[in-house]
Symmetry: C2
Subunit: 387 residues, 2 copies
């Protein structure tokens, strides 16, 4: 199959707020080849990611993503990896290219799976897809009381695990302790409790470490993204003293090396990969293999649609012991409506990857229309992108 077209659908809620809620807009990628359509999603700024696909070339090492993609043949997993290598080299000086390519790469696996009639996880070399234990992934309430109620709701909905994240966590030590106590109380004594600091502590190891006692007392399984994504030294310092609380991170990794370094230099015990950022399913799969080799647990990072969720589950579908998975439960209508079919917990509270070919998720044409953001980019008087 020859890649004939790559179309970008920029979608948005009518209003976008400063909440750390990544489901307020979306960049959906549609790849057409051989009469088939593959779908992917960039977890990224839509406009900047579109620009990285269509930008005029600056020089040989700063080419747009399109230069390495359009017209290429995709008949095997190796073809996808070959294009990935070309994007990495030809666009090495175009920073945004990794985010753009992530959605395209995802769509290529969807496409190849459809062509062969097999799910993407099989193309990735996995013999079986094991069910996953979804953790409800939500933001902290503005107050501990709100978090308490949110946790009770999650428990009542049948989830056995939950993650609370971002502001106001990090604002004050006592406030954080109250939040941690409230989350544990609401979730009940047997729920898996996860905490996401949203990089609140920068590189300040002492500030992060001050929360460890309250985390240990509340049996927090992991302390996610305490620091800036690249603060490997701070990660390592916290990991050395975090005792029963594992340090987690990785959602910002936009190539396999960044994830590897968080494991090998940063000492994280859970590596969290977003296929919409790391370059798609191929590098995510490599990170999963590295995690296995190091005794680290691989987890998806997903805070957007079920298309992104399916993609992010594929690379570790075959890892039975890596059982927990992120499952966003408070999606904005845009992200909820984007897929016709949904990935829902079964009676035992477990989720299963779709059986259908590729990513096994059908994109809603109506949603693409309803939430559409028209964009036009003109350079030297020529329209180089119009949606």
């Amino acid at each position: 199959m020859k890649i004939e077209a790559v179309d970008f659908h920029y979608l948005s809620m009518p209003e976008v707020t400063k909440a750390a809620d990544g489901s307020q807009d979306a960049l959906v990628v549609q790849v057409s080849a051989g009469g088939l359509t593959g779908w992917g999603e960039c977890e990224a700024s839509p406009l900047a990611s579109i620009a990285a696909f269509v930008a005029p070339m600056s020089h040989g090492a700063c080419q747009p993503v399109s230069a390495s993609v359009l017209g290429r043949r995709v008949d095997s997993p190796d073809d996808i990896r070959a294009i990935a290598a070309d994007v990495a080299y030809n666009s090495m000086d175009l920073l945004q290219s990794a985010h753009t390519w992530s959605g395209v790469e995802m769509a290529l696996w969807d496409l190849l799976g459809k062509a062969r009639g097999v799910p993407a996880w099989q193309l990735l070399g996995q013999a079986k897809a094991f069910p996953k234990l979804p953790y409800a992934s939500v933001l902290f309430g503005a107050t501990a009381q709100e978090t308490l109620e949110r946790a009770r709701g999650i428990r009542a909905a049948g989830f056995r695990a939950a993650k609370f994240g971002w502001a106001p966590f990090g604002a004050s030590l006592q406030g954080d302790i109250d939040q941690l106590d409230a989350a544990r109380e609401g979730l009940g004594p047997d729920g898996v409790l996860l905490i996401d600091a949203g990089q609140a502590f920068g590189e300040d190891v002492e500030a992060a470490a001050a929360r460890l006692d309250a985390m240990a007392r509340n049996r927090v399984t992991w302390f996610e993204e305490p620091f800036s994504a690249d603060a490997l030294e701070a990660y390592a310092a916290l990991a050395r003293r975090s005792g029963p609380v594992a340090v987690a991170g990785g959602e910002a990794a936009f190539n396999r090396a960044m994830a590897r370094h968080l494991i090998d230099y940063g000492g994280v015990r859970y590596i969290q990969i977003d296929c919409g950022r790391i370059g798609g399913l191929g590098p995510a799969c490599d990170v999963a293999a590295h995690a296995v080799a190091r005794g680290v647990t691989y987890v998806n990072h997903t805070f957007t649609s079920n298309l992104a969720l399916s993609a992010s589950l594929q690379p570790f579908a075959g890892l039975e012991g890596h059982r927990i998975c992120e499952y966003p439960t408070e999606l904005k209508p845009l992200a909820r409506d984007l897929t016709v079919n949904r990935i829902l917990p079964d009676a035992e509270g477990l989720i299963h990857l779709p059986d259908a070919p590729g990513l096994g998720v059908e994109v809603s044409a109506a949603a693409l229309q309803t939430y559409r953001v028209p964009v036009e980019i003109r350079v030297k008087g020529q329209t180089i992108f119009a949606s």
Copy 2:
């Protein structure tokens, strides 16, 4: 001073080729505040970098650069650092933001220097600006014979050091050996010879190491960017066996942590920083301090205009022992014409930082007009950027 406006000037040569020549286009940043104008330059894809400034917000951690910049006060170096921290946090999920911010940050030092009547290097806390020994930075010839002639020309022009880089280096071992011999022969026995592999070896340590004997025999001072920017393990492996040839890298670093890791985990002995990528002068200065602490030599990376050159020299102006500096000698007319004044070697072949306030370089209004690339970006029917 309050930041009233940030204007982007996208410039380009009429024709842009795949040569690894970063001077074929440019993104010049003009910041207006308190009746003064500061100038900076992003070493980046112009269109993608503009998009990262004007893009609609995706969520609280994926805001455009403009959200943290416009309307802010800049009355001291601390103000610049405070804005930098806000950009890093508010735009953490907008990958391109680091490149966009680099040009803006540079312009803020230019602005503040003009307001106080002192050069930027003084604002950065340095007591004196020492002269630097420029190395002529050029691409390899297509053949060893061409490289020989290019090296002779550089020697005849009075340069005491030269760097040859990029393709065809890496294509074949014998070809590379011939290129190395030719470069040394043309430069003469006493010239400082530097080699830039332009990431040709990916993560392949053995392929890079196969070039070490010919480099040692030709007394190559450094072997630059043998690997992908993030391949810290490969850097470390090569550094352990490179003997008299130092491993160098860092031009891709877009924050201080990446540069620190190349030193501490990758074992480079020269750290090469482009202020148009790393977030401007502030983080570059921090990297210079880290290099001093580790016994590593700091060097600028510059392959574009004299505006970028002046900016990239400021952070290590006061480091007398860090003497060598990159000096592009085959600039495209665009990059040559961009500044009214030029930084030229003196009778002894040394270059001096401008004495004038800020970056001390005057931008040519004529060049901004001559090489201008008109751009218009429309979202939801509204023009959000027009040049």
